[in-house]
């Protein structure tokens, strides 16, 4: 560990907060329908889009109508993406947009990929540069990077409206929220980030793969592509699906320590800002700060544990005789699967940033993290992505936990629980409880199925013996259920014997189980969150009295952390023991 390593983590938290507060104010204005500084530019296109889409933005929707629009739109996106991916070698695809003539992946892999990108998971059972055409990356995957992010954000906005709403059952209009999210939030930020990334060395071209005659006379082929545009929205929308197989470890996706820092900010900026937007929209900024503090405490804890564990090094390194302390000119630590330019702190922090959110991008091999270092992403996923979480998904998920915490707090003081002046009743608590438990249920069910069946164990990599094999399987279904998409990447659903798409085949069991895992665990919680919004909308607000439990102070932060940790630990502890914790507690090699 080094002073600069710790400084990186602290400065990151500080800069993030400083940027998120003003952006939160901007978001609140956008979703409250107020004029913002971009209105003169995007007001026209906004009205034009409503006309083209035949949408009346003033039509108010209750939760069922809102959910219906959301589901139908997502389904349309899924179908189009599936068709695009399955026809990438069809006659109408221009050669320059599929220069290597990649064939389509088989149906089962494509089912997984289409489900993955529509659900903001971006789990990848394919390798970008050896199977995906430029056209598929652009009109297929990049588009869902935007839309899945937009869908996540609007659910959070709808839930806030339900919490605030005092009359009627309206949660707003899905189409209006989606169009505004894309125009006023994602488009300007994404374009800005993309240009900054190109200026630092992320590539942006449609060239054929480079054919290099190396210094010693060997041949090297270098993959190319329109990376910067996809990279920007991949981070900003907490998507995480890499253009290349090695994602943000690839120098063309993440060329310097600066881009590494910048990409981490891009991942967390919207989830963090939404918390402040929540505070403004509910008229209770202090509660926004309380939720932000809850997230930040857990985030910093995770970053510290990961950094300490990775700086310590792994049992395999020590057994091989390698010394892992820092000395002049050497980072030390567990550098297996990590890039020199990011070092230990830059890799550990990136890992935490992308696993607390639903981003799932990786700049180092999580499978090669030490037992405890690897337990951190496990723990982040076990907390159901509420530590900042995905764009929108993080906020609506933690709000379900807030509801639960208020309920438990109410039980402790023996009063009907109240939240922002609204009485919480059996219906909301039941819906919130189901919304919280459904994701862990999907993760554990799929893990059990995958580890207990022969077809499931097919996907475990050969080198992953003992607890590592269990970790691979568990992480796969936990990550897909939480729509994260990071992986213990030895686990596979797609086998490419010749490093090309020809002759490759999918592992049907893993592809289908994972696909259903993602779909179920994405849309079930969305429906529960919207149902909670519907149940809260229109409830009468009573002024806070002397006996009202406060939900905006340090006590509540502690209570909320307690509830999140308790639910996560009770659900996942037995499974975690079998994998990463066993490895973290022993120096035994398997």
């Amino acid at each position: 560990m080094t002073f600069l390593g710790w400084l990186t983590i602290i400065l990151f938290a500080g800069i993030l907060t400083a940027l998120a507060i003003p952006l939160g104010g901007y978001l609140a204005n956008v979703y409250n329908g107020k004029r913002v500084f971009l209105t003169p530019i995007f007001g026209g296109p906004e009205r034009f889009l409503y006309k083209v889409l035949r949408v009346d933005p003033k039509r108010e929707q209750d939760w069922k109508s809102y959910a219906k629009s959301l589901i139908i739109f997502s389904l349309a996106g899924w179908i189009l993406l599936y068709v695009i991916l399955r026809t990438q070698d069809a006659f109408f695809v221009p050669h320059s947009l599929n220069p290597l003539g990649f064939e389509s992946a088989p149906w089962n892999v494509t089912f997984n990929t289409a489900s993955s990108f529509m659900t903001n998971t971006n789990w990848q059972y394919y390798s970008g540069e050896t199977t995906m055409s430029y056209l598929s990356q652009m009109i297929g995957l990049t588009v869902q990077n935007w839309l899945s992010a937009g869908v996540g954000i609007v659910v959070a906005v709808a839930l806030i409206r339900g919490i605030v709403g005092r009359t009627g059952k309206s949660l707003g209009n899905f189409w209006q929220d989606l169009v505004r999210t894309i125009l006023y939030v994602l488009a300007p930020l994404s374009a800005l980030i993309a240009i900054v990334l190109v200026s630092q060395g992320v590539i942006a071209n449609f060239s054929n793969y480079l054919s290099v005659h190396t210094v010693t006379g060997l041949t090297q082929s270098i993959a190319m592509g329109p990376v910067a545009s996809q990279e920007a929205i991949k981070m900003l929308g907490t998507n995480g699906g890499g253009f290349f197989n090695t994602n943000s470890a690839h120098p063309f996706e993440n060329p310097t320590a600066f881009t590494n820092f910048f990409e981490m900010l891009a991942v967390l900026i919207i989830p963090a800002a939404l918390v402040f937007a929540y505070g403004r929209m509910t008229g209770n900024r202090r509660q926004g700060y309380a939720i932000y503090a809850t997230m930040m405490v857990m985030f910093l804890g995770a970053a510290a544990v990961a950094y300490i564990a990775e700086a310590h090094g792994s049992p395999a390194q020590h057994a091989a005789g390698l010394h892992t302390h820092v000395f002049a000119g050497s980072s030390g630590g567990n550098l297996e699967g990590k890039e020199q330019r990011f070092g230990i702190a830059g890799s550990a922090l990136f890992d935490v940033v992308t696993t607390v959110t639903s981003c799932g991008a990786v700049n180092s091999a999580i499978e090669s993290f030490t037992g405890i270092g690897g337990a951190v992403p496990f723990a982040n996923l076990s907390a159901s992505e509420v530590i900042f979480g995905g764009v929108g998904t993080g906020l609506y998920s933690i709000l379900l936990y807030v509801l639960l915490a208020v309920f438990i707090g109410g039980l402790m003081v023996g009063r009907t629980p109240e939240w922002l002046g609204k009485k919480l009743e059996a219906r909301e608590i039941k819906l919130a409880g189901l919304g919280i438990l459904i994701t862990p249920l999907a993760a554990l069910f799929c893990t059990a199925l995958a580890t207990a069946s022969h077809a499931g164990r097919e996907s475990i990599s050969k080198a992953a013996t003992g607890p590592q094999g269990f970790s691979e399987s568990f992480y796969a279904y936990l990550s897909q259920a939480n729509n994260n998409g990071s992986a213990f990447a030895g686990y596979t659903g797609f086998i490419q014997p010749n490093a090309g798409s020809v002759g490759s085949h999918g592992v049907t069991f893993a592809d289908l189980l994972g696909g259903f895992d993602m779909l179920f665990a994405r849309y079930a919680p969305i429906l529960f969150a919207l149902a909670v919004a519907g149940a809260l909308a229109g409830k009468r607000v009573t002024p806070a009295g002397l006996g009202t439990m406060r939900t905006d102070n340090a006590t509540f932060v502690v209570l909320l952390i307690g509830v999140i940790v308790l639910v996560g630990a009770l659900t996942f502890f037995p499974a975690l023991l079998l994998g990463p914790i066993v490895q973290g507690l022993t120096s035994h090699l398997y």
Binding site: R54, F73, A191, T216, A223, N260, G321, A365, E367
Partner: protein, 219 residues
């Protein structure tokens, strides 16, 4: 319901055009105009020939010969490090090291025997190559980056400590003074990002090309 379906179908087409065509073309166009070098992968040409990308690692090795023929194993050319050059980190991409058309993680687990074996092998190879020029070089002194594969397996950089050790070999083989080689190492060491983030690293390709220029090696 019908209204939602209609809007969804129009919506997905409109958004696909805007976000899947207009947006990437715009970004790529701006990138090509304002930062053409970066947008095209920081290609390095020597004598009109493309010798690599500045930010993609490559293998500085020669094909192993046996009876005048290039030795192959399972269709992959067997190579051995070229002692004139600084060596990049161990890489295990498919079809030989540093295959930049198929980046891949090594996925070596922290408690796996396979990991220990791989690392031990890298340490052994490193000491075999550098030991003769660095008397007393033991496993304990091998920098971690020299024995661990990187994330992308395409890491263009090595640690300064690793470069200082290799400098002894390169200086001896090229008949240069150690101070000259060390000077070049310093020149091609990238500082930490924004002054505090990440680790300094030595760009192996730039360093090796500078050495070739200095000693008049042509490609």
């Amino acid at each position: 319901m019908r209204r939602d379906i209609l809007t969804s179908v129009i919506g997905i087409i409109v958004f696909t055009i805007l976000l899947g065509l207009v947006y990437p073309l715009l970004v790529t166009g701006i990138g090509q105009v304002t930062f053409p070098g970066n947008a095209n992968g920081q290609q390095i040409h020597v004598g009109g020939r493309l010798v690599g990308s500045k930010i993609i690692g490559q293998s500085f090795a020669d094909p192993k010969m046996k009876n005048g023929k290039v030795l192959e194993e399972k269709g992959v050319v067997v190579t051995e490090p070229d002692p004139r050059y600084f060596q990049t980190r161990p890489s295990a991409t498919e079809g030989g090291a540093y295959n930049a058309a198929a980046s891949t993680f090594s996925n070596l687990g922290p408690n796996s025997k396979a990991t220990e074996e791989a690392i031990a092998e890298h340490i052994k190879a490193y000491i075999e190559l550098e030991g003769p020029y660095n008397p007393g070089l033991t496993a304990a002194r091998v920098p971690v980056d020299a024995a661990n594969s990187s994330g992308s397996n395409l890491d263009p950089e090595i640690s300064p400590a690793n470069a200082r050790i290799q400098a002894h070999r390169v200086a001896a083989v090229r008949h240069l003074s150690l101070a000259t080689v060390d000077g070049l190492v310093s020149r091609y060491t990238d500082a930490r990002g924004i002054g505090f983030s990440g680790e300094p690293g030595v760009n192996a390709l730039e360093l090796n090309l500078a050495l070739d220029r200095l000693t008049g090696v042509t490609h």
